[in-house]
């Protein structure tokens, strides 16, 4: 997957430049609320439960202050990415113990067109391994800045 293809799955309405969450559960819920408000998922509790179960499998934090909470659910039809930035950071059970300031939440159906879910996760991991990108992402204020950064501009 090319980086620019990620933009097709980002939504302006699913962008939070300054998250309120202070805990892991609050962070999951704050991001998920965007999907619910935009009707990308019908049943919040079902998807929240799935995201919590996913965290049981292992924290979706990648360390260095980033996390990619993700999962497939029957309760959606689209592969969508939400972005959130937390200035104070959230304890997300990261292996390096660093608070998470950058969140990309990816929610996908079980059978996504073109099987793009796993490539999307892989591409996000690659982007977030780049220290310069992380530094820049920690400063984004607008959705347009986010898209430009993801595109590699």
């Amino acid at each position: 997957m090319q980086k620019h293809e990620l933009r097709d799955h980002l939504r302006k309405a699913l962008f939070i430049p300054s998250m309120k969450a202070r805990t892991k559960e609050q962070a999951l819920e704050e991001l998920l609320d965007l999907f619910v408000a935009e009707k990308y998922v019908k049943n919040k509790q079902l998807v929240l439960e799935m995201l919590k179960q996913r965290e049981l499998l292992g924290s979706t934090s990648l360390g260095k202050g980033v996390a990619v909470p993700h999962g497939r659910t029957t309760a959606t039809a689209d592969v969508i990415i939400a972005f959130g930035r937390s200035e104070k950071g959230v304890d997300f059970d990261a292996s390096d113990k660093n608070p998470v300031t950058l969140f990309f939440m990816v929610i996908a159906p079980h059978n996504d067109e073109g099987n793009i879910y796993l490539p999307i996760l892989g591409t996000l991991v690659i982007i977030l391994k780049d220290a310069k990108k992380r530094h820049a992402l920690n400063k984004v204020e607008t959705f347009e800045e986010l898209v430009a950064l993801i595109d590699g501009e």
């Binding site: 079902l46 179960q53 499998l57 924290s59 959606t76 039809a77 079980h110």
Partner: protein, 111 residues
């Protein structure tokens, strides 16, 4: 068939896929440490579902991979057959369980 049982089936299917896909997700760079814990959670959830329904779910999963599929704009997202409008209203309430006449999967209305 109550609404909660349909939701339990959906949670079960989400868990099953999560477990199946865990190795692929790990290869991408995520830390996967809790597969056995998740398998226990899966069995606990399965125990709450009535045996005939669970059997039906397992049989459909084996045959078609996905036992429950979303319906959007009255289209079954398993086989893309248009569902009769007459069942849409009841299906949206999520009280009764409907199956796609074409592919046989259980249906979950998204809209």
């Amino acid at each position: 068939m109550g609404n909660s049982e349909l939701e339990q089936l959906i949670s079960l299917q989400d868990l099953d896929l999560m477990i199946e896909e865990s190795e692929e997700v790990e290869k991408l760079g995520f830390s996967i440490t809790g597969v056995s814990q998740l398998k226990i959670a899966r069995e606990e959830l399965a125990a709450k579902i009535s045996k005939p329904l669970l059997y039906r779910y397992e049989r459909l999963r084996k045959k078609l991979k996905r036992a429950i599929v979303p319906v959007k704009n009255d289209i079954c997202l398993g086989c893309f057959l248009h569902q009769p409008t007459s069942i849409g209203a009841q299906g949206r309430e999520g009280v009764d369980l409907f199956t796609c006449e074409n592919c046989g999967r259980m249906l979950y209305w998204l809209d």
